[in-house]
Protein backbone atom coordinates (compact mmCIF):
# COMPACT_ATOMS: atom_id res chain seq x y z
CA UNK A 1 0.00 0.00 0.00
CA UNK A 2 1.30 3.44 -0.94
CA UNK A 3 1.47 5.57 2.17
CA UNK A 4 -0.23 8.93 2.49
CA UNK A 5 3.06 10.79 2.34
CA UNK A 6 4.01 9.20 -1.01
CA UNK A 7 0.63 10.08 -2.52
CA UNK A 8 1.02 13.65 -1.36
CA UNK A 9 4.52 13.75 -2.81
CA UNK A 10 3.32 12.44 -6.19
CA UNK A 11 0.42 14.92 -6.23
CA UNK A 12 2.89 17.70 -5.55
CA UNK A 13 5.22 16.56 -8.33
CA UNK A 14 2.21 16.33 -10.66
CA UNK A 15 1.10 19.84 -9.59
CA UNK A 16 -2.34 18.63 -8.57
CA UNK A 17 -3.95 19.92 -5.40
CA UNK A 18 -5.77 17.15 -3.54
CA UNK A 19 -8.07 17.06 -0.53
CA UNK A 20 -7.59 14.62 2.33
CA UNK A 21 -10.52 12.56 1.11
CA UNK A 22 -9.03 12.36 -2.38
CA UNK A 23 -5.68 11.38 -0.95
CA UNK A 24 -7.23 8.35 0.74
CA UNK A 25 -9.02 7.41 -2.46
CA UNK A 26 -5.90 7.73 -4.62
CA UNK A 27 -3.95 5.72 -2.07
CA UNK A 28 -6.31 2.79 -2.67
CA UNK A 29 -6.69 3.28 -6.44
CA UNK A 30 -3.02 3.71 -7.22
CA UNK A 31 -2.04 0.79 -5.01
CA UNK A 32 -4.44 -1.54 -6.80
CA UNK A 33 -3.25 -0.44 -10.24
CA UNK A 34 0.40 -0.75 -9.23
CA UNK A 35 -0.29 -4.26 -7.87
CA UNK A 36 -1.81 -5.11 -11.24
CA UNK A 37 1.16 -3.86 -13.27
CA UNK A 38 3.55 -5.61 -10.87
CA UNK A 39 3.20 -8.74 -13.01
CA UNK A 40 5.89 -7.08 -15.13
CA UNK A 41 8.31 -8.04 -12.37
CA UNK A 42 8.34 -11.56 -13.83
CA UNK A 43 10.51 -10.11 -16.59
CA UNK A 44 13.55 -9.74 -14.41
CA UNK A 45 16.46 -10.37 -16.71
CA UNK A 46 15.12 -9.97 -20.19
CA UNK A 47 17.43 -8.28 -22.62
CA UNK A 48 15.74 -6.62 -25.54
CA UNK A 49 17.37 -4.85 -28.42
CA UNK A 50 15.93 -1.83 -30.17
CA UNK A 51 13.25 -0.73 -27.75
CA UNK A 52 13.50 2.77 -29.12
CA UNK A 53 12.62 1.71 -32.64
CA UNK A 54 9.31 0.20 -31.54
CA UNK A 55 7.22 2.58 -33.54
CA UNK A 56 9.18 5.12 -35.42
CA UNK A 57 9.17 3.44 -38.80
CA UNK A 58 9.38 6.81 -40.45
CA UNK A 59 10.91 9.95 -39.10
CA UNK A 60 10.55 12.51 -41.79
CA UNK A 61 12.37 15.74 -40.95
CA UNK A 62 10.91 18.98 -42.20
CA UNK A 63 12.92 21.80 -43.66
CA UNK A 64 14.36 24.20 -41.12
CA UNK A 65 12.36 27.25 -42.09
CA UNK A 66 10.06 29.46 -40.08
CA UNK A 67 6.35 28.93 -40.69
CA UNK A 68 4.53 32.18 -41.27
CA UNK A 69 1.23 32.25 -39.43
CA UNK A 70 -1.52 34.62 -40.34
CA UNK A 71 -2.63 37.28 -37.85
CA UNK A 72 -5.92 35.50 -37.28
CA UNK A 73 -4.22 32.50 -35.73
CA UNK A 74 -2.17 34.77 -33.46
CA UNK A 75 -5.37 36.50 -32.36
CA UNK A 76 -7.00 33.19 -31.57
CA UNK A 77 -4.03 32.02 -29.52
CA UNK A 78 -4.06 35.27 -27.53
CA UNK A 79 -7.82 34.97 -26.97
CA UNK A 80 -7.29 31.58 -25.33
CA UNK A 81 -4.88 32.99 -22.77
CA UNK A 82 -6.13 33.73 -19.23
CA UNK A 83 -4.34 37.10 -19.04
CA UNK A 84 -2.73 39.09 -21.81
CA UNK A 85 -0.51 42.14 -21.55
CA UNK A 86 1.00 43.91 -24.59
CA UNK A 87 0.29 40.97 -26.87
CA UNK A 88 1.94 38.47 -24.55
CA UNK A 89 0.83 35.91 -21.99
CA UNK A 90 0.89 37.37 -18.49
CA UNK A 91 2.06 35.00 -15.76
CA UNK A 92 2.67 35.21 -12.04
CA UNK A 93 5.94 36.48 -10.79
CA UNK A 94 8.30 33.52 -10.53
CA UNK A 95 11.26 34.97 -8.65
Amino acid sequence: MLDAQTVEHIAHLARIGITEEERTQYQGDLTRILDFVDELKAFENIEVKNTESALIRYAVPRTDTALIHDGKERERILENMPEVAEGALKVRQVL
Binding site: I16, R32, Y58, R92
Partner: protein, 485 residues
Amino acid sequence: MIRQLHQQLVEGKITAEALALEYLSRIEKNDKEIGAYLTLLEKEGILERARQVDTKIARGEEIDLLEGIPGAIKDNILVEGVRATAGSKILENYTAPHDATVVTRLKEAGAVFLGKTNMDEFAMGSSTENSAYQVTKNPRDITRVPGGSSGGSAAAVASGMAVWSLGSDTGGSIRQPAAFCGIVGLKPTYGRVSRSGLMAMASSLDQIGTFTESVEDAAILLSRIAGEDPMDNTAAPTLTNKSFEDELIGDIKGVRIGIPEEYMSDSIDPSIREALQAAKKNLESLGAVLVPVSLPHTKMALAVYYVLMPAEVSSNIARLDGIRFGVTHTDTDGQKSGDSLLDTYLKNREHGLGKEVKRRVMLGTYALSSGYYDAYYGKADRVRALIRQDFEEVFKTVDVLFTPTTPEVAFPVGEKTTDPLTMYLSDIYTVTANLAGVPALSLPIGDKDGLPIGGQFLSKWFDEEGLLRVAHALEQKQEEIKKAK
Protein backbone atom coordinates in the same frame (compact mmCIF):
# COMPACT_ATOMS: atom_id res chain seq x y z
CA MET B 1 -23.15 4.46 -47.82
CA ILE B 2 -20.87 7.32 -48.88
CA ARG B 3 -20.77 6.05 -52.45
CA GLN B 4 -24.57 5.80 -52.61
CA LEU B 5 -25.02 9.32 -51.25
CA HIS B 6 -22.38 10.57 -53.69
CA GLN B 7 -24.29 8.94 -56.55
CA GLN B 8 -27.53 10.59 -55.47
CA LEU B 9 -25.79 13.96 -55.26
CA VAL B 10 -24.27 13.63 -58.72
CA GLU B 11 -27.52 12.44 -60.24
CA GLY B 12 -29.36 15.38 -58.70
CA LYS B 13 -31.66 13.19 -56.62
CA ILE B 14 -30.65 15.07 -53.49
CA THR B 15 -28.73 18.27 -52.81
CA ALA B 16 -25.88 18.62 -50.36
CA GLU B 17 -27.85 21.33 -48.61
CA ALA B 18 -30.86 19.07 -48.14
CA LEU B 19 -28.57 16.32 -46.91
CA ALA B 20 -27.00 18.63 -44.32
CA LEU B 21 -30.44 19.84 -43.22
CA GLU B 22 -31.62 16.25 -42.85
CA TYR B 23 -28.72 15.41 -40.54
CA LEU B 24 -29.16 18.62 -38.56
CA SER B 25 -32.82 17.80 -38.01
CA ARG B 26 -31.92 14.28 -36.88
CA ILE B 27 -29.48 15.76 -34.38
CA GLU B 28 -32.13 18.16 -33.14
CA LYS B 29 -34.61 15.33 -32.74
CA ASN B 30 -32.41 12.60 -31.27
CA ASP B 31 -29.36 14.06 -29.61
CA LYS B 32 -31.13 15.11 -26.42
CA GLU B 33 -31.53 11.42 -25.71
CA ILE B 34 -28.17 10.17 -27.04
CA GLY B 35 -25.85 13.06 -26.10
CA ALA B 36 -23.33 12.43 -28.88
CA TYR B 37 -22.48 16.06 -29.66
CA LEU B 38 -20.76 18.61 -27.43
CA THR B 39 -20.67 21.49 -29.91
CA LEU B 40 -22.52 21.96 -33.18
CA LEU B 41 -20.98 24.08 -35.90
CA GLU B 42 -22.85 27.20 -36.89
CA LYS B 43 -25.82 26.21 -39.05
CA GLU B 44 -25.29 28.89 -41.68
CA GLY B 45 -21.65 27.86 -42.11
CA ILE B 46 -22.63 24.21 -42.56
CA LEU B 47 -25.24 25.08 -45.18
CA GLU B 48 -22.85 27.45 -46.96
CA ARG B 49 -20.31 24.64 -47.38
CA ALA B 50 -23.05 22.35 -48.66
CA ARG B 51 -24.29 24.95 -51.14
CA GLN B 52 -20.77 25.30 -52.55
CA VAL B 53 -20.91 21.60 -53.39
CA ASP B 54 -24.33 22.02 -54.98
CA THR B 55 -22.99 24.87 -57.12
CA LYS B 56 -20.16 22.67 -58.35
CA ILE B 57 -22.56 19.89 -59.24
CA ALA B 58 -24.86 22.34 -61.03
CA ARG B 59 -21.89 23.56 -63.06
CA GLY B 60 -21.18 19.99 -64.06
CA GLU B 61 -17.86 19.87 -62.20
CA GLU B 62 -16.57 16.58 -60.92
CA ILE B 63 -16.83 16.18 -57.14
CA ASP B 64 -14.93 14.00 -54.71
CA LEU B 65 -16.64 10.96 -53.18
CA LEU B 66 -16.65 12.66 -49.80
CA GLU B 67 -17.74 16.05 -51.09
CA GLY B 68 -20.92 17.28 -49.40
CA ILE B 69 -21.08 14.24 -47.10
CA PRO B 70 -21.75 15.32 -43.48
CA GLY B 71 -19.67 13.96 -40.62
CA ALA B 72 -18.50 14.66 -37.08
CA ILE B 73 -15.15 15.19 -35.37
CA LYS B 74 -14.09 14.01 -31.91
CA ASP B 75 -13.65 16.97 -29.60
CA ASN B 76 -9.89 16.44 -29.11
CA ILE B 77 -9.26 17.17 -32.82
CA LEU B 78 -9.01 20.85 -33.76
CA VAL B 79 -11.37 22.59 -36.16
CA GLU B 80 -10.37 26.23 -36.62
CA GLY B 81 -12.58 28.70 -34.79
CA VAL B 82 -14.61 26.00 -33.08
CA ARG B 83 -14.56 25.21 -29.35
CA ALA B 84 -12.43 22.18 -28.52
CA THR B 85 -12.82 20.91 -24.94
CA ALA B 86 -11.65 17.28 -25.26
CA GLY B 87 -14.38 16.58 -22.70
CA SER B 88 -12.52 18.56 -20.03
CA LYS B 89 -13.65 21.41 -17.84
CA ILE B 90 -10.18 22.95 -18.01
CA LEU B 91 -10.72 23.67 -21.74
CA GLU B 92 -14.33 24.81 -21.55
CA ASN B 93 -13.48 28.14 -23.18
CA TYR B 94 -10.79 26.94 -25.56
CA THR B 95 -11.24 27.80 -29.24
CA ALA B 96 -9.07 25.98 -31.77
CA PRO B 97 -6.65 28.47 -33.38
CA HIS B 98 -6.08 26.28 -36.47
CA ASP B 99 -7.21 23.07 -38.17
CA ALA B 100 -5.76 19.66 -37.42
CA THR B 101 -4.05 18.22 -40.52
CA VAL B 102 -6.84 15.63 -40.91
CA VAL B 103 -9.43 18.40 -40.81
CA THR B 104 -7.55 20.42 -43.45
CA ARG B 105 -7.50 17.33 -45.65
CA LEU B 106 -11.19 16.63 -45.19
CA LYS B 107 -11.97 20.27 -45.95
CA GLU B 108 -9.94 19.96 -49.15
CA ALA B 109 -11.96 16.86 -50.04
CA GLY B 110 -15.13 18.95 -49.55
CA ALA B 111 -16.57 17.09 -46.57
CA VAL B 112 -19.16 18.89 -44.44
CA PHE B 113 -18.64 19.09 -40.66
CA LEU B 114 -21.67 18.98 -38.39
CA GLY B 115 -20.09 19.19 -34.97
CA LYS B 116 -17.70 18.02 -32.28
CA THR B 117 -18.46 14.84 -30.39
CA ASN B 118 -18.43 13.91 -26.73
CA MET B 119 -15.60 11.84 -25.28
CA ASP B 120 -13.97 10.71 -22.06
CA GLU B 121 -11.87 13.62 -20.76
CA PHE B 122 -8.68 13.81 -22.84
CA ALA B 123 -9.60 10.37 -24.23
CA MET B 124 -9.10 8.66 -20.87
CA GLY B 125 -11.83 6.10 -20.39
CA SER B 126 -13.72 3.24 -22.00
CA SER B 127 -17.33 4.37 -21.61
CA THR B 128 -17.57 8.15 -22.31
CA GLU B 129 -18.76 8.53 -18.70
CA ASN B 130 -15.61 10.53 -17.87
CA SER B 131 -16.70 13.56 -19.90
CA ALA B 132 -17.03 16.71 -17.79
CA TYR B 133 -20.16 17.63 -19.76
CA GLN B 134 -22.51 14.71 -20.38
CA VAL B 135 -22.83 10.93 -20.58
CA THR B 136 -23.37 9.62 -24.11
CA LYS B 137 -25.84 6.74 -24.43
CA ASN B 138 -25.54 3.71 -26.66
CA PRO B 139 -28.05 4.18 -29.51
CA ARG B 140 -28.78 0.40 -29.53
CA ASP B 141 -29.84 0.50 -25.86
CA ILE B 142 -29.84 3.83 -24.07
CA THR B 143 -29.38 2.23 -20.65
CA ARG B 144 -25.90 1.18 -21.78
CA VAL B 145 -22.64 2.94 -22.53
CA PRO B 146 -21.49 3.50 -26.12
CA GLY B 147 -17.92 2.54 -25.15
CA GLY B 148 -15.08 5.01 -25.15
CA SER B 149 -13.23 7.12 -25.28
CA SER B 150 -14.65 8.11 -28.70
CA GLY B 151 -18.21 7.27 -27.58
CA GLY B 152 -19.78 10.42 -29.07
CA SER B 153 -18.28 9.77 -32.49
CA ALA B 154 -19.46 6.14 -32.42
CA ALA B 155 -22.97 7.02 -31.21
CA ALA B 156 -23.34 9.80 -33.83
CA VAL B 157 -22.74 7.37 -36.71
CA ALA B 158 -24.66 4.47 -35.13
CA SER B 159 -27.75 6.67 -34.60
CA GLY B 160 -27.69 8.20 -38.08
CA MET B 161 -26.67 11.65 -36.82
CA ALA B 162 -23.51 11.65 -39.00
CA VAL B 163 -22.50 9.62 -42.05
CA TRP B 164 -18.94 9.31 -40.78
CA SER B 165 -16.86 10.53 -37.88
CA LEU B 166 -13.28 10.78 -36.73
CA GLY B 167 -12.01 9.45 -33.42
CA SER B 168 -8.69 8.79 -31.77
CA ASP B 169 -7.44 5.42 -30.55
CA THR B 170 -4.72 5.11 -27.89
CA GLY B 171 -5.67 1.72 -26.44
CA GLY B 172 -8.91 0.86 -28.19
CA SER B 173 -10.84 4.14 -28.11
CA ILE B 174 -12.13 3.67 -31.67
CA ARG B 175 -12.49 -0.11 -31.91
CA GLN B 176 -14.21 -0.72 -28.56
CA PRO B 177 -16.99 1.89 -29.07
CA ALA B 178 -17.39 0.73 -32.69
CA ALA B 179 -17.93 -2.82 -31.38
CA PHE B 180 -20.38 -1.63 -28.68
CA CYS B 181 -22.40 0.47 -31.16
CA GLY B 182 -22.38 -2.00 -34.07
CA ILE B 183 -20.38 -0.03 -36.64
CA VAL B 184 -16.97 -0.17 -38.32
CA GLY B 185 -14.03 1.36 -36.43
CA LEU B 186 -10.60 1.67 -37.98
CA LYS B 187 -7.34 2.43 -36.17
CA PRO B 188 -4.69 2.86 -38.86
CA THR B 189 -0.99 2.02 -38.49
CA TYR B 190 0.88 4.34 -36.15
CA GLY B 191 2.26 6.89 -38.62
CA ARG B 192 -0.37 6.39 -41.34
CA VAL B 193 -2.30 9.50 -40.34
CA SER B 194 -0.83 12.77 -39.05
CA ARG B 195 -1.51 13.52 -35.38
CA SER B 196 -0.95 17.24 -35.80
CA GLY B 197 -3.92 19.02 -34.23
CA LEU B 198 -4.92 16.03 -32.13
CA MET B 199 -4.55 16.80 -28.42
CA ALA B 200 -1.85 14.40 -27.30
CA MET B 201 -2.70 11.78 -24.72
CA ALA B 202 0.08 9.16 -25.07
CA SER B 203 2.14 10.19 -28.06
CA SER B 204 3.68 6.82 -28.89
CA LEU B 205 0.23 5.17 -28.94
CA ASP B 206 -2.23 7.81 -30.24
CA GLN B 207 -3.63 7.45 -33.73
CA ILE B 208 -6.53 9.16 -35.49
CA GLY B 209 -9.04 6.85 -37.18
CA THR B 210 -12.59 6.54 -38.47
CA PHE B 211 -16.13 5.44 -37.61
CA THR B 212 -18.37 4.42 -40.50
CA GLU B 213 -21.28 2.16 -41.34
CA SER B 214 -19.26 0.11 -43.81
CA VAL B 215 -15.70 -0.99 -44.53
CA GLU B 216 -15.78 0.80 -47.88
CA ASP B 217 -16.65 4.07 -46.13
CA ALA B 218 -13.66 3.56 -43.82
CA ALA B 219 -11.43 3.06 -46.86
CA ILE B 220 -12.79 6.22 -48.53
CA LEU B 221 -12.04 8.29 -45.42
CA LEU B 222 -8.62 6.77 -44.85
CA SER B 223 -7.54 7.58 -48.41
CA ARG B 224 -8.32 11.21 -47.72
CA ILE B 225 -6.71 11.64 -44.30
CA ALA B 226 -3.57 9.49 -44.72
CA GLY B 227 -0.10 10.60 -45.74
CA GLU B 228 2.99 12.47 -44.67
CA ASP B 229 2.84 15.84 -42.97
CA PRO B 230 5.66 18.24 -42.14
CA MET B 231 3.87 18.93 -38.84
CA ASP B 232 4.18 15.31 -37.63
CA ASN B 233 7.46 13.66 -38.40
CA THR B 234 6.10 10.17 -37.66
CA ALA B 235 3.51 10.54 -40.44
CA ALA B 236 4.67 8.36 -43.31
CA PRO B 237 4.46 9.04 -47.03
CA THR B 238 1.84 7.09 -48.96
CA LEU B 239 3.71 4.96 -51.43
CA THR B 240 0.86 4.16 -53.79
CA ASN B 241 -1.40 6.23 -56.00
CA LYS B 242 -4.23 3.80 -55.49
CA SER B 243 -7.05 4.70 -53.14
CA PHE B 244 -7.84 2.22 -50.37
CA GLU B 245 -11.40 1.89 -51.66
CA ASP B 246 -10.08 0.60 -54.98
CA GLU B 247 -8.37 -2.29 -53.20
CA LEU B 248 -11.62 -3.85 -51.98
CA ILE B 249 -11.73 -6.55 -54.63
CA GLY B 250 -13.72 -9.04 -52.57
CA ASP B 251 -11.38 -11.93 -53.26
CA ILE B 252 -9.61 -13.37 -50.21
CA LYS B 253 -8.90 -16.88 -51.55
CA GLY B 254 -5.74 -18.23 -50.00
CA VAL B 255 -5.37 -15.35 -47.55
CA ARG B 256 -3.90 -16.71 -44.33
CA ILE B 257 -5.78 -15.59 -41.24
CA GLY B 258 -4.16 -16.21 -37.85
CA ILE B 259 -6.36 -17.03 -34.85
CA PRO B 260 -4.33 -16.16 -31.74
CA GLU B 261 -5.08 -18.50 -28.83
CA GLU B 262 -4.35 -15.75 -26.28
CA TYR B 263 -7.42 -13.78 -27.34
CA MET B 264 -9.83 -16.53 -26.34
CA SER B 265 -9.75 -16.40 -22.54
CA ASP B 266 -12.39 -18.07 -20.37
CA SER B 267 -13.80 -14.71 -19.32
CA ILE B 268 -15.11 -14.03 -22.82
CA ASP B 269 -18.90 -13.85 -23.26
CA PRO B 270 -20.21 -17.11 -24.82
CA SER B 271 -22.27 -15.13 -27.37
CA ILE B 272 -19.08 -13.45 -28.57
CA ARG B 273 -17.40 -16.84 -28.85
CA GLU B 274 -20.30 -18.08 -30.98
CA ALA B 275 -20.29 -15.01 -33.24
CA LEU B 276 -16.56 -15.49 -33.76
CA GLN B 277 -17.07 -19.13 -34.72
CA ALA B 278 -19.69 -18.15 -37.30
CA ALA B 279 -17.40 -15.45 -38.70
CA LYS B 280 -14.52 -17.90 -38.98
CA LYS B 281 -16.76 -20.28 -40.93
CA ASN B 282 -17.71 -17.46 -43.27
CA LEU B 283 -14.07 -16.55 -43.81
CA GLU B 284 -13.29 -20.17 -44.65
CA SER B 285 -16.18 -20.33 -47.08
CA LEU B 286 -14.58 -17.37 -48.88
CA GLY B 287 -11.41 -19.39 -49.34
CA ALA B 288 -9.34 -17.96 -46.52
CA VAL B 289 -7.06 -20.31 -44.60
CA LEU B 290 -7.41 -20.20 -40.82
CA VAL B 291 -4.19 -20.80 -38.91
CA PRO B 292 -3.94 -21.20 -35.12
CA VAL B 293 -1.15 -18.89 -33.91
CA SER B 294 0.32 -17.65 -30.65
CA LEU B 295 1.43 -14.21 -29.49
CA PRO B 296 2.93 -15.29 -26.17
CA HIS B 297 3.45 -11.86 -24.59
CA THR B 298 -0.17 -10.79 -25.05
CA LYS B 299 -0.95 -11.44 -21.39
CA MET B 300 1.51 -8.73 -20.39
CA ALA B 301 0.02 -6.12 -22.73
CA LEU B 302 -2.42 -4.51 -20.32
CA ALA B 303 0.23 -4.13 -17.60
CA VAL B 304 2.66 -2.62 -20.11
CA TYR B 305 -0.05 -0.29 -21.36
CA TYR B 306 -1.00 0.91 -17.87
CA VAL B 307 2.61 1.91 -17.21
CA LEU B 308 3.59 3.49 -20.54
CA MET B 309 0.31 5.26 -21.21
CA PRO B 310 0.07 7.09 -17.82
CA ALA B 311 3.77 7.99 -18.07
CA GLU B 312 3.18 9.70 -21.42
CA VAL B 313 -0.09 11.18 -20.13
CA SER B 314 1.63 12.79 -17.14
CA SER B 315 4.03 14.50 -19.51
CA ASN B 316 1.43 15.58 -22.09
CA ILE B 317 -1.10 16.83 -19.55
CA ALA B 318 1.55 19.02 -17.87
CA ARG B 319 0.80 21.83 -20.34
CA LEU B 320 -2.77 22.00 -19.02
CA ASP B 321 -1.91 24.23 -16.10
CA GLY B 322 -4.55 26.91 -16.54
CA ILE B 323 -1.94 29.31 -17.89
CA ARG B 324 -0.41 27.91 -21.07
CA PHE B 325 -3.65 26.04 -21.74
CA GLY B 326 -6.92 25.98 -19.87
CA VAL B 327 -9.06 27.94 -17.51
CA THR B 328 -7.55 29.72 -14.53
CA HIS B 329 -9.53 28.76 -11.47
CA THR B 330 -11.36 31.59 -9.80
CA ASP B 331 -12.06 31.48 -6.07
CA THR B 332 -15.52 32.13 -4.69
CA ASP B 333 -14.57 35.73 -3.95
CA GLY B 334 -13.91 36.24 -7.67
CA GLN B 335 -10.15 36.47 -7.26
CA LYS B 336 -7.82 34.47 -9.45
CA SER B 337 -6.63 31.72 -7.18
CA GLY B 338 -3.20 30.99 -5.80
CA ASP B 339 -0.76 33.04 -3.78
CA SER B 340 2.26 31.80 -5.72
CA LEU B 341 2.84 30.30 -9.14
CA LEU B 342 2.96 26.81 -7.59
CA ASP B 343 -0.28 27.46 -5.73
CA THR B 344 -1.89 28.61 -8.98
CA TYR B 345 -0.89 25.39 -10.73
CA LEU B 346 -2.16 23.24 -7.87
CA LYS B 347 -5.54 24.98 -7.77
CA ASN B 348 -6.05 25.20 -11.55
CA ARG B 349 -5.37 21.50 -11.98
CA GLU B 350 -7.31 20.47 -8.88
CA HIS B 351 -10.44 22.18 -10.15
CA GLY B 352 -9.95 21.84 -13.91
CA LEU B 353 -9.07 18.16 -14.30
CA GLY B 354 -11.36 15.20 -13.68
CA LYS B 355 -10.80 12.18 -11.46
CA GLU B 356 -9.56 9.71 -14.07
CA VAL B 357 -7.15 12.22 -15.61
CA LYS B 358 -5.70 13.00 -12.19
CA ARG B 359 -5.41 9.31 -11.43
CA ARG B 360 -3.43 8.66 -14.60
CA VAL B 361 -1.25 11.74 -14.26
CA MET B 362 -0.34 10.68 -10.72
CA LEU B 363 0.26 7.08 -11.75
CA GLY B 364 2.53 8.23 -14.56
CA THR B 365 4.34 10.69 -12.33
CA TYR B 366 5.02 7.87 -9.87
CA ALA B 367 6.21 5.46 -12.59
CA LEU B 368 8.64 8.08 -13.91
CA SER B 369 9.84 9.32 -10.53
CA SER B 370 13.37 8.87 -9.29
CA GLY B 371 14.00 5.35 -8.03
CA TYR B 372 11.02 3.81 -9.83
CA TYR B 373 11.77 4.68 -13.44
CA ASP B 374 13.51 1.46 -14.40
CA ALA B 375 11.23 -0.83 -12.38
CA TYR B 376 8.17 0.50 -14.19
CA TYR B 377 8.80 2.53 -17.35
CA GLY B 378 12.08 0.88 -18.34
CA LYS B 379 10.72 -2.60 -17.88
CA ALA B 380 7.41 -1.87 -19.60
CA ASP B 381 9.28 -0.43 -22.55
CA ARG B 382 11.35 -3.61 -22.88
CA VAL B 383 8.29 -5.86 -22.66
CA ARG B 384 6.61 -3.67 -25.27
CA ALA B 385 9.44 -4.58 -27.63
CA LEU B 386 8.70 -8.26 -26.98
CA ILE B 387 5.03 -7.69 -27.81
CA ARG B 388 6.06 -6.04 -31.06
CA GLN B 389 8.38 -8.95 -31.86
CA ASP B 390 5.45 -11.36 -31.37
CA PHE B 391 3.67 -9.55 -34.19
CA GLU B 392 6.77 -9.54 -36.39
CA GLU B 393 7.07 -13.29 -35.95
CA VAL B 394 3.42 -14.09 -36.52
CA PHE B 395 3.18 -11.95 -39.65
CA LYS B 396 5.89 -14.10 -41.23
CA THR B 397 3.31 -16.87 -41.49
CA VAL B 398 -0.10 -15.14 -41.69
CA ASP B 399 -1.51 -12.07 -43.49
CA VAL B 400 -4.00 -10.88 -40.91
CA LEU B 401 -5.16 -11.83 -37.40
CA PHE B 402 -8.76 -12.26 -36.29
CA THR B 403 -9.86 -11.81 -32.66
CA PRO B 404 -12.81 -10.52 -30.65
CA THR B 405 -12.73 -6.71 -30.20
CA THR B 406 -13.98 -6.88 -26.62
CA PRO B 407 -14.55 -9.66 -24.06
CA GLU B 408 -18.14 -8.47 -23.45
CA VAL B 409 -20.93 -6.44 -25.04
CA ALA B 410 -21.86 -2.86 -24.03
CA PHE B 411 -22.29 -2.65 -20.25
CA PRO B 412 -24.90 -0.64 -18.32
CA VAL B 413 -24.22 3.05 -17.60
CA GLY B 414 -22.66 3.37 -14.15
CA GLU B 415 -21.62 -0.28 -13.83
CA LYS B 416 -17.86 0.26 -13.83
CA THR B 417 -17.44 3.89 -12.79
CA THR B 418 -16.44 3.11 -9.21
CA ASP B 419 -13.72 0.62 -10.12
CA PRO B 420 -11.02 1.93 -12.47
CA LEU B 421 -9.29 -1.43 -12.82
CA THR B 422 -12.43 -3.22 -14.08
CA MET B 423 -12.89 -0.42 -16.59
CA TYR B 424 -9.29 -0.87 -17.76
CA LEU B 425 -9.99 -4.54 -18.56
CA SER B 426 -12.31 -3.40 -21.38
CA ASP B 427 -9.16 -2.69 -23.40
CA ILE B 428 -7.71 -6.17 -23.05
CA TYR B 429 -7.95 -7.16 -26.74
CA THR B 430 -7.30 -3.73 -28.23
CA VAL B 431 -4.17 -2.36 -26.51
CA THR B 432 -1.76 -4.72 -28.29
CA ALA B 433 -2.33 -3.04 -31.66
CA ASN B 434 -1.34 0.32 -30.15
CA LEU B 435 1.68 -1.09 -28.34
CA ALA B 436 2.93 -2.72 -31.55
CA GLY B 437 1.71 0.09 -33.82
CA VAL B 438 -0.13 -2.22 -36.24
CA PRO B 439 -3.43 -1.28 -37.90
CA ALA B 440 -6.67 -2.84 -36.62
CA LEU B 441 -10.35 -2.69 -37.47
CA SER B 442 -13.52 -3.68 -35.63
CA LEU B 443 -16.36 -5.08 -37.72
CA PRO B 444 -19.86 -5.98 -36.48
CA ILE B 445 -20.15 -9.79 -36.60
CA GLY B 446 -23.35 -10.47 -34.69
CA ASP B 447 -25.27 -9.53 -31.60
CA LYS B 448 -26.34 -10.71 -28.16
CA ASP B 449 -30.03 -9.91 -27.69
CA GLY B 450 -29.68 -6.85 -29.90
CA LEU B 451 -26.38 -5.68 -28.41
CA PRO B 452 -23.69 -5.62 -31.12
CA ILE B 453 -20.60 -7.85 -31.11
CA GLY B 454 -17.36 -6.75 -32.80
CA GLY B 455 -14.72 -8.87 -34.47
CA GLN B 456 -11.24 -7.39 -34.75
CA PHE B 457 -8.83 -7.78 -37.66
CA LEU B 458 -5.16 -6.80 -37.31
CA SER B 459 -2.59 -6.67 -40.08
CA LYS B 460 1.05 -5.85 -40.76
CA TRP B 461 2.37 -2.32 -40.39
CA PHE B 462 1.08 -0.20 -43.29
CA ASP B 463 -0.97 -3.04 -44.77
CA GLU B 464 -4.36 -1.35 -44.43
CA GLU B 465 -5.09 -2.66 -47.95
CA GLY B 466 -4.98 -6.25 -46.69
CA LEU B 467 -6.84 -5.37 -43.50
CA LEU B 468 -9.68 -3.60 -45.31
CA ARG B 469 -9.91 -6.24 -48.03
CA VAL B 470 -10.47 -9.12 -45.59
CA ALA B 471 -12.92 -7.13 -43.42
CA HIS B 472 -14.81 -6.04 -46.54
CA ALA B 473 -15.08 -9.61 -47.86
CA LEU B 474 -16.50 -10.83 -44.54
CA GLU B 475 -18.88 -7.86 -44.38
CA GLN B 476 -20.21 -8.66 -47.87
CA LYS B 477 -20.64 -12.32 -46.99
CA GLN B 478 -22.60 -11.39 -43.84
CA GLU B 479 -24.83 -9.07 -45.91
CA GLU B 480 -25.48 -11.89 -48.35
CA ILE B 481 -26.50 -14.25 -45.55
CA LYS B 482 -28.78 -11.60 -44.01
CA LYS B 483 -30.51 -11.02 -47.34
CA ALA B 484 -31.02 -14.75 -47.92
CA LYS B 485 -32.83 -15.10 -44.57
